[in-house]
């Protein structure tokens, strides 16, 4: 990836579903984007490195000792939405992206 990163507008805030995720396509990359009840947005890659499928946006959001995560719908590995690290297996991780809501638009620093 040689191009400079920038804030990319993905969709309208209303396209997100509170306390769950949607999937976005950005330069042929799949991103799982989550909106929590305190109006925070998070993005990680959609690829589940344990289950080997593009499914992370369909997981359940939760918290563990204050760390917010998504549990993969395939085998339930939990990935931190802030760091992308897997809470159950140090070997695994996904990329987490800076994400924000600007004028009701969901933007990812990508």
């Amino acid at each position: 990836m040689s191009t400079a990163k920038n804030w990319q507008t993905i969709c309208h805030k209303q396209d997100l579903v509170k306390n769950s995720g949607v999937c976005a396509l950005l330069q042929e990359q799949q991103l799982a984007i989550f909106l929590t009840s305190d109006d925070q947005v998070y993005s990680i890659t959609n690829w589940d490195p344990a289950g080997k499928a593009n499914v992370l946006y369909r997981g359940i959001i939760g918290d563990s000792e204050g760390e917010i995560f998504v549990a993969s719908p395939l085998y339930k590995e939990r990935f931190s939405l802030t760091t992308g690290k897997c809470l159950d297996d140090e070997q695994l991780s996904v990329i987490s992206y800076q994400t924000r809501i600007q004028d009701n638009q969901v933007q990812v620093f990508f």
Partner: protein
């Protein structure tokens, strides 16, 4: 039984209940557990039964629906007819009919008068003036509220228990509040004079002025306020609002007019079975006079309701009076009164403790020989009430120095260990639950307080016994060396069973409310689906409504089973495995159009694999258009009822297993359970449906059906247990209703019926006692709950495709119409299968190239 129709009986006894107060309603609850009666409720009030005991909380924020004891829908579910604003004005004892003021007539086989009582208003000139009110019904409260809004001063006439409640209400409404009592003391029935004096001081300290020994002569126009109350001693008091609370009188006018025996000072005379002088007419609650006594408390009324219902049902039970001891909190002041508070028993000795600094007064009344407690008065501190009551009710011998029981705990206080209580000791007097009942419940598998409450109903009335109940339960648990902790996850310090009871008892309808009140954090993948399942078992709302959606596992979110490559499978319901050629053709056409892999499942259904998320709605639209519905193959719910063809086609079949399988599948479809559940029905003992390997197995016999339970077991296969034999259709269904709902209530998260039965203390035998013998008295409730689920069934796919909002979720990308390119299939045996990782990599389709260093790079950037 005609399996396609609801059973109807035309010969039900007609039961008409006049009055829908707490007691009338309790009667309906008691009797509606039997199916042999058609109950009709006639209520003079414009609303169904509500909690009058907690009426004053209406002013501190409780709403009408908080106080309601029942809803119209619940009565409908129970099959109870009811009419509001239907005041009965006529009884024809010969024709056995009652007629309302509106002219509607109802015939009865048995008539129950539960008309209650009305507030007594002393004959004071001026009592009819505006803003002179009583305190009895929700309508009264509305009037009081409206009236209070126009004034600043309020007076309650009557310093009894209800009068002080009413005074509290006026205070809550922000009025300067006075209590006017004719007698020299407050609460003259329950307290002695010292206790009454002390109570007066405590209440005055809270800003309510108490006037004792005041006889109101007349009420006239006031100078500063609306009214002036003139007293016999020449003094007066000005006020804007007057509430009369000078005792109650039984509503016995129907009895008087239509010639039932009434007491000299009112009240419909009843015998020990609550029958009036007319054997088909019963009277219960505050309108009834038993042994020349009217019971103005709800607990004795409940006992009467129970006795009357049992008697109508041909069981012997009798009302033998009730203990009138009370413990309450009036404006934050604790007051307790037990038995012979006034020491009227000959030879009684009194022991008192008085503390003027903290305004505490305690008295015990002890028998002449010093061995038994006859009564007690407690003001300002009722902490000893529970144990004193046990001494009094159970005749437990007092310690040598009984006064130690009420002295402050500076020294050694002889505490009444709950172990000293006999098994016959009543712990919950509202519902008449004894210590023995609680021990039984624990012996029969209850492992925590919530379960004991659920199975014994203890503490579900006024709740006053909660502390004692806990002590008894804790002591019994300790004796058994039990410390059962089954927290579901770090977000809730409760087991699934406990959460079930909390949600049901508090009528909680979504996860947010539950976690806010009883949990911490935002939840996780363990508790969210578990709670979603409980909510669905109890309320059966559409599981994808916006507050439930984020709780569901992906299978429920997309109403399909997620497969290893992220695609879903599709299973239309085929009750009993039966399907018409037309539907079969549509399934084939759909499979062909979307190139889906097709297979017959282990449960005799057709499974279509390989559908992408974005294809699901289209596929289901076609299946639904052909008359099919979701098979719930994705849910922790009833999956399938496998069957053979039974007596219809088979040479050996002895019963119509096909019809039964279809009936059962349709009955329980959509029921959310702790784990998935499968049934099977075999038409003879050759057992072609393999029913003994299912959660619920049914095998036909010459005489009916044998019921097997808790087979399957998943990873650890389990042969089902024979539960009951030679059942007729109706009984079979009834037992399955109860067994399944009992499991739904009690099982742990994701616990199969097999594991659940094995973990149930007492095992199969206990389950049989509960389901067949109604050992816990909860069958009626279990059946009702099942009926509610059955009645609220919906095809979730139908609801989903009809909602544009829901359909948005099925787009693969929020910002693109493309589909996931990593989903790839290869052909095998003329159908598709997911491409393996190697096959995908060879095609350059894998995106699995992310490394940890990439991740760190990105998170280090801080554009803000």
């Amino acid at each position: 039984m005609d399996l396609n129709a609801q059973p109807q009986s035309i010969s039900k006894q007609q039961i008409v209940v006049v009055g829908n107060g707490m007691v009338g309603h309790h009667f309906v609850e008691q009797l509606s557990q039997y199916e042999d009666y058609q109950i009709t409720v006639l209520s003079a009030e414009p609303r169904l039964a509500y909690d009058r005991v907690h009426l004053s909380e209406y002013f501190s924020g409780k709403t009408e629906s908080d106080l309601a004891l029942i809803t119209a829908e619940q009565y409908q579910t129970l099959g109870v007819n009811f009419h509001l604003d239907a005041k009965v004005s006529h009884i024809d004892k010969r024709a056995k009919t009652v007629t309302t003021e509106q002219g509607q007539s109802y015939s009865y086989d048995k008539l129950i008068l539960a008309t209650g009582s009305y507030p007594f208003v002393p004959p004071i000139p001026g009592k009819e003036r505006p803003h002179c009110l009583v305190y009895r019904t929700i309508d009264d409260l509305e009037q009081i509220k409206a009236s209070a809004a126009q004034g600043t001063v309020g007076v309650v006439v009557g310093g009894g228990l209800l009068g002080l409640e009413a005074a509290n209400a006026l205070k809550e409404l922000g009025l300067e509040t006075h209590v006017v009592e004719f007698a020299p003391q407050l609460m003259g029935v329950q307290l002695d004079s010292t206790g009454g004096q002390l109570l007066k001081r405590k209440i005055e300290a809270l800003g309510v002025t108490v006037h004792t020994e005041k006889a109101t002569q007349q009420i006239v126009d006031g100078k500063q306020c609306v009214h002036r109350m003139e007293f016999a001693d020449g003094s007066y008091l000005e006020t804007d609002l007057i509430l009369f609370s000078a005792g109650i009188r039984p509503y016995d006018n129907l009895a008087r007019e239509f010639d039932l025996t009434v007491g000299e000072r009112g009240g419909i005379v009843i015998n020990n079975q609550c029958q009036t002088s007319e054997q088909d007419i019963y009277a219960i609650g505050e309108c009834a006079l038993w042994n020349n006594f009217i019971f103005g408390l709800v607990a004795p009324g409940y006992s009467m309701a129970k006795v009357a219902a049992a008697h109508i049902h041909g069981e012997s039970d009798s009302f033998t009076g009730a203990d009138m001891s009370t413990k309450l909190k009036l404006m934050g002041v604790e007051v307790g009164s037990i038995g012979d508070a006034h020491a009227k028993t000959p030879g009684a000795q009194c022991f008192t403790y008085q503390n003027d600094r903290d305004l505490i007064y305690k008295k015990i009344v002890v028998s002449q020989d010093g061995k038994n407690l006859l009564g007690a008065v407690l003001v300002g501190d009722t902490s000893e009430y529970d144990s004193l009551l046990q001494y009094a009710l159970n005749g437990i011998e007092l310690p040598e120095d009984p006064d130690a029981l009420i002295l402050p705990s500076s020294g050694e206080k002889p505490s009444l260990g709950v172990d000293a209580l006999p098994d016959s000791a009543t712990i919950c007097s509202c519902l008449n639950v004894t210590k023995g009942d609680i021990i039984n419940a624990i012996d029969n598998g209850d492992t925590d307080l919530a379960e004991i409450k659920a199975s014994t109903k203890a503490s579900s009335g006024c709740g006053g016994c909660a502390a004692l109940l806990k002590t008894v339960a804790d002591s019994e648990f300790a004796k058994r060396g039990l410390e059962v902790k089954k927290d579901i996850c770090s977000h809730f310090a409760y087991s699934r069973t406990e959460l079930f009871h909390i949600i049901k008892a508090e009528k909680i309808r979504n996860f947010d409310t539950l976690i806010e009140k009883h949990g911490q954090g935002i939840g996780c993948e363990i508790c969210k689906p578990a709670v979603a399942s409980i909510l669905a078992s109890i309320w059966n709302d559409y599981i994808l409504q916006s507050d439930h959606l984020p709780l569901q596992d992906t299978n429920d979110v997309y109403l399909g089973n997620m497969q290893k490559d992220g695609t879903y499978s599709i299973v239309p319901r085929m009750p009993g495995g039966e399907i018409t050629p037309d539907k079969l053709i549509v399934i084939g056409e759909v499979a062909k159009a979307y190139n889906l892999y097709t297979k017959i499942t282990g449960g005799q259904r057709i499974d279509l694999f390989g559908a992408r998320v974005d294809q699901l709605p289209d596929i289901w639209e076609k299946l639904i258009a052909a008359g099919m519905e979701t098979g719930h193959a994705y849910g922790k719910s009833l999956r399938t009822v496998k069957s053979c063809v039974g007596s219809t086609w088979c040479r050996y079949g002895v019963q119509d297993s096909m019809s039964m399988a279809i009936f059962l599948e349709n009955r329980y479809k959509g029921l959310r359970t702790p784990h998935k559940v499968k049934f099977a029905v075999s038409g003879c003992t050759r057992e072609c449906a393999e029913a003994q390997s299912k959660d619920i197995g049914v095998i036909a016999t010459e005489n009916g059906w044998n019921l097997y339970v808790s087979g399957n077991g998943g990873m650890k296969p389990r042969h089902a247990d024979l539960f009951a034999t030679d059942l007729d259709d109706t009984t079979l269904v009834k037992y399955i209703d109860r067994y399944l709902m009992f499991y739904v209530r009690m099982a742990d998260r994701l616990q199969r019926t097999s594991v659940w039965l094995e973990s149930l203390e007492g095992g199969l035998e206990y389950a049989q006692k509960v389901v067949i013998d109604d050992h816990l008295g909860i069958n009626d409730e279990l059946e009702k709950q099942m009926a509610a689920v059955v009645d609220s069934y919906q095809c979730e796919w139908k609801t989903t495709i009809e909602s544009p909002e829901q359909l948005k979720r099925f787009r693969q990308f929020v910002n693109s119409e493309k589909s996931d390119p990593s989903i790839q299939f290869v052909n095998e045996r003329e159908q598709i299968r997911p491409a393996t990782i190697t096959e995908k990599a060879a095609a350059g389709l894998l995106i699995d190239t992310v490394t940890i260093s990439d991740s760190q790079q990105v998170t280090e950037v801080n554009p803000a």
